[in-house]
Structure formats: C-alpha cells, structure tokens
C-alpha cells in the first residue's frame, strides 16, 4: 500500500493531489478541537468576534486527549466521532480550513462544503489512543483552556497515520468500500 507523506499547512494545490484511499503520514502542526471548542467558536462568530486563530490551510484533529502522565507531554489521543461537528464544520471550511482528522462519515452538507473549498477529510483508527499519542511531539494550549480536554491545542505531529476518506472531489470511502463487501442478499 503506497504511503503519501504530507506536511502542514496544506495548501489547495496539495489537497487536490490527495485521493480517497490514500494512506498518509502527516507531519507538522495541527490543531485539536471537538464539541465544546467548536460551539464556542460558533458563538464567537455569531457575536461578530474573531476566531482564536486563522485556520487557512490548517488541519483540525477531533480529539480530547487524556491527561499527560509525569514525563509525557500528552496522554492517549485518538480521534472522536466527526459527525457531531458536522453542524459547525462548513463555517470553518469557508474560512480556509484545509481538512479534518476524525472518524466516521460526514453529512452531505459537509461534503458539499468540502468540495467547494477543496478540503480533505482524513480518518485515523478510533481507539488507537496510545499509538497516536506516540506521534505527538509538542503540545501548546492556544485557546479555551478552561475547557480542559476540549481546549484548542496546537500539536506537532510526526508521521501521524491516517487515510483519506473523503477527497476534494467528494469521493467517499465509506460509500465505495462497503459495497465491495456487502452481501445484501443474505439478509
């Protein structure tokens, strides 16, 4: 299986080269945000306030890590279910977000927004918190510290393993792969 190395930030030209099914290793800075951070960002936008950072060409990782043990910089840090962020994601894609890392399928509205903004959605293996923690080299809280595990963190990753599951053309691995193995007649 071919593996594509990608570096963040990820501009449109490089996003468009990625195709559904590509196995990638991501290196560089990415940003953590999940339910509560997204909700707070949307509230900021509604009030006409700025977001805590510029997401242009950046990648959000949907994760709420465990606390770091002594001598570690972060605890287990696998992906959470992306679908809960569907309601918020198009707002961020319209502001330049390059892609998201999580698990599980996305809504049609998110996929349409991804296509119009040339964004990519990556999945990594859910539950693999210990293995993914190993790829994180630095951690800095940049916003909403009071949210604890749900704060926005800037994390540096090295060879973070993921799969392109929805590409800039809207090709969706959740739809295509399942068909190959479904034996509907059995049911």
């Amino acid at each position: 299986m071919a593996v594509v190395d990608i570096k963040t930030p990820l501009d449109k030209k490089n996003r468009k080269k990625l195709r559904v099914g590509d196995h990638v290793r991501i290196s560089g800075f990415i940003y953590t945000a999940r339910d509560a951070a997204h909700k707070r960002m949307m509230e900021a936008l509604e009030k006409g306030q700025a977001l805590p950072m510029d997401f242009t060409d950046e990648i959000i990782y949907y994760v709420g890590p465990c606390p770091a043990k002594p001598g570690e910089i972060i605890g287990s840090a696998g992906p959470t279910t992306s679908g809960r962020m569907d309601i918020y994601t198009p707002e961020l894609l319209d502001r330049g977000l390059a892609g998201m890392i999580g698990k599980g399928n996305r809504s049609e509205r998110v996929i349409n927004s991804m296509m119009s903004n040339d964004a990519v959605y990556f999945a990594c293996v859910g539950g693999a918190g210990a293995l993914l923690q190993d790829c994180i080299k630095s951690v800095e809280i940049i916003a909403y510290e009071d949210l604890g595990t749900e704060a926005i963190r800037k994390i540096e990753v090295e060879d973070f393993p993921a799969i392109v599951v929805i590409d800039t053309l809207g090709n969706n691995l959740y739809e295509t792969e399942r068909k190959k193995f479904a034996h509907k007649l059995w049911i």
């Binding site: 299986m1 099914g21 196995h23 509560a36 994760v63 709420g64 890590p65 465990c66 606390p67 770091a68 043990k69 570690e72 605890g75 287990s76 840090a77 696998g78 959470t80 279910t81 679908g83 698990k103 599980g104 399928n105 999945a123 293996v125 859910g126 539950g127 693999a128 918190g129 210990a130 293995l131 923690q133 190993d134 604890g148 595990t149 393993p161 799969i163 599951v165 691995l173 959740y174 295509t176 792969e177 399942r178 068909k179 190959k180 193995f181 479904a182 034996h183 509907k184 059995w186 049911i187």
Partner: protein
C-alpha cells in the same frame, strides 16, 4: 457477620478503573486476532493490525488504550448479610472512581448537567446498578463506557406481533446505522423483554459476557448466531471502511415481559469493550 471497610472498596474500584482502561480482556484480544486472520479487506486488515499494535503500546507504556476512558457503569451484587464498615457503599464506589481516574491519568469525561455541561472534574458520578442477593458477598463489575459507541445505541418498544422478525430488523438497523461511527468491529449487547429500563440494563450488562459464550436458551443462541452473520454481511467492516468483520459478538439477554409489549434495547460497544469484575 462479614464486614468490608469502605477504604478497601475505594482502593479496589480505583484499581479496576485503571486496569479496565489499560488492558483489554483475553476474549476481546482473541476476537480481534481472529478478525484480523479472516478479514478480506486490505484497509480492514491494516486497521485491525493497528488496533492490536495499539494494545501493546498501551500495555507497555501503561497508558489508556483509548482516550475516551468512558463514563463508568457498575453492576454491584450485594449480599444481604454483608456489613459495610465505616461509611456509605455508594459514596465509597464513587470515591473509588474519582481516585482511579485521578491516579491513572484517565480522561474526565462527565459533565454535571446535560444542558449546562460543566465537567465534574473527577469523572463521577458513575451509573451504579445494585442487586441484593442472599449471602455475604460483594461483587463489583465495572464497565467504562465510551460514548462514540454509546451514542449509536437505541431502544424501541415493539409490539408482540412484531415478534422475532421485528426484533431482528430493529437490531440490524441499529448496527447498520451505528457501526461506522462506533469504532467497528463492535460488540452488540441486546436486552429483550421486561420493561423499558429493564431492557436497557440487560443490554448494557450483556456487553460484559465473554465473547463466544452463548445465551443458554436454544432459540436465543440461534438468534445470536443469526445476528452475527447478518451483521457481518453488511460489508461495513473495521472503522466502517469496508470488510467482513463489522461485529465481533452479539450477546442477547431476555426477561419476562407484559402481554402487550416487546421492548428491545441495543447497546453498542466499540472493539475496546472494557469490563473488569472482582469479588471482594
């Protein structure tokens, strides 16, 4: 009369919370290894390999397998002749959870009010189900329940005329909708009968039955076999990216019910199906 002190309970519960989140039980490990052996999808095989590799890293570094260390569900079987010395059993169980989540660097994922959503800071309260039995024993079973899979669970009050076919359809629908988001290959706990809450509690406890151990009732064993094969024919596969291993096991429990009803609860667990049991 047998006595157990509350500190002993606190310490056991704390240890069990850490153990459940760091090491997966032998039956689950075996189920995943078997899945990797049989998987036909390339993505699926690689994902299962990553899952197995992650267990090793968690064990060696002594850190949680998954960052979602769950909301704790407990099944406590309490002998009516037992004396709890030094305080309240409920408070000791909750204090044990708080200690385990602090000492074990586990994620605190519980919010105090479902609308206001402020984190309680120590992962309590746990949801505790008690059963009082003859004797002087104390058995504590702990299931830290992650919510990626909990959110895909469902309950339906079917009609008696829906029968076996209706039950099968509802369970398969729940598996089909839920498993791509629930970190498949999943384990499916099912409770049929009783009342609404009885069905749900049976479904939860069914998740702690070891993989491969069937319900002793013949027609329920047949239902478990059917549901396992039918689920794996859906093609959803590991992490929903295609394959023949969507479900590792289906555990069904039944209970007498009302002449007018057929409650069915489906509780889904991710492949990190954590459960630890101790008899004190």
């Amino acid at each position: 009369m047998k006595r157990i002190g509350i500190q002993q309970i606190i310490d056991h519960v704390a240890e069990m919370c850490i153990e459940a989140n760091t090491f997966l039980s032998a039956d689950m490990m075996e189920g995943l290894r078997r899945a990797k052996g049989s998987e036909e999808s390339e993505n699926g095989k690689e994902i299962l390999e990553t899952m197995l590799c992650n267990f090793e890293i968690a064990k060696n570094k002594n850190i949680p397998i998954c960052q979602d260390t769950g909301m704790v569900v407990m099944f406590v079987t309490f002998g009516q002749d037992l004396v709890i010395a030094g305080g309240s059993l409920e408070e000791a169980l909750q204090a044990g959870v708080a200690k385990g989540y602090e000492d074990g660097y586990l994620r605190k994922s519980v919010v105090a009010d479902p609308f206001i959503r402020t984190n309680t800071g120590n992962n309590t309260p746990a949801v505790i189900h008690y059963q009082v039995v003859p004797g002087d024993g104390l058995k504590i079973k702990i299931l830290p329940k992650g919510f990626g899979s909990e959110n895909t669970s469902a309950l339906k009050m079917l009609k008696p005329s829906d029968g076996m076919a209706g039950v099968k359809e509802f369970i398969l629908q729940t598996v089909e909708t839920g498993s791509p988001n629930a970190c498949a290959p999943i384990v499916v706990g099912v409770g049929v009968g009783g009342t609404m809450e009885k069905a749900a509690i049976m479904a939860k406890e069914a998740l702690s039955r070891p993989l491969g151990k069937h319900n002793p009732l013949e027609h329920i064993e047949a239902l478990e076999d059917y549901l396992l094969e039918a689920s794996n024919a859906l093609g959803i596969g590991p992490m929903g990216l295609g394959g023949i291993n969507t479900v590792l096991g289906v555990n069904v429990e039944v209970f007498p019910t009302h002449i007018a009803g057929l409650p069915v609860a489906v509780n889904i667990s991710c492949y990190v199906n954590r459960h630890v049991e101790r008899e004190l």
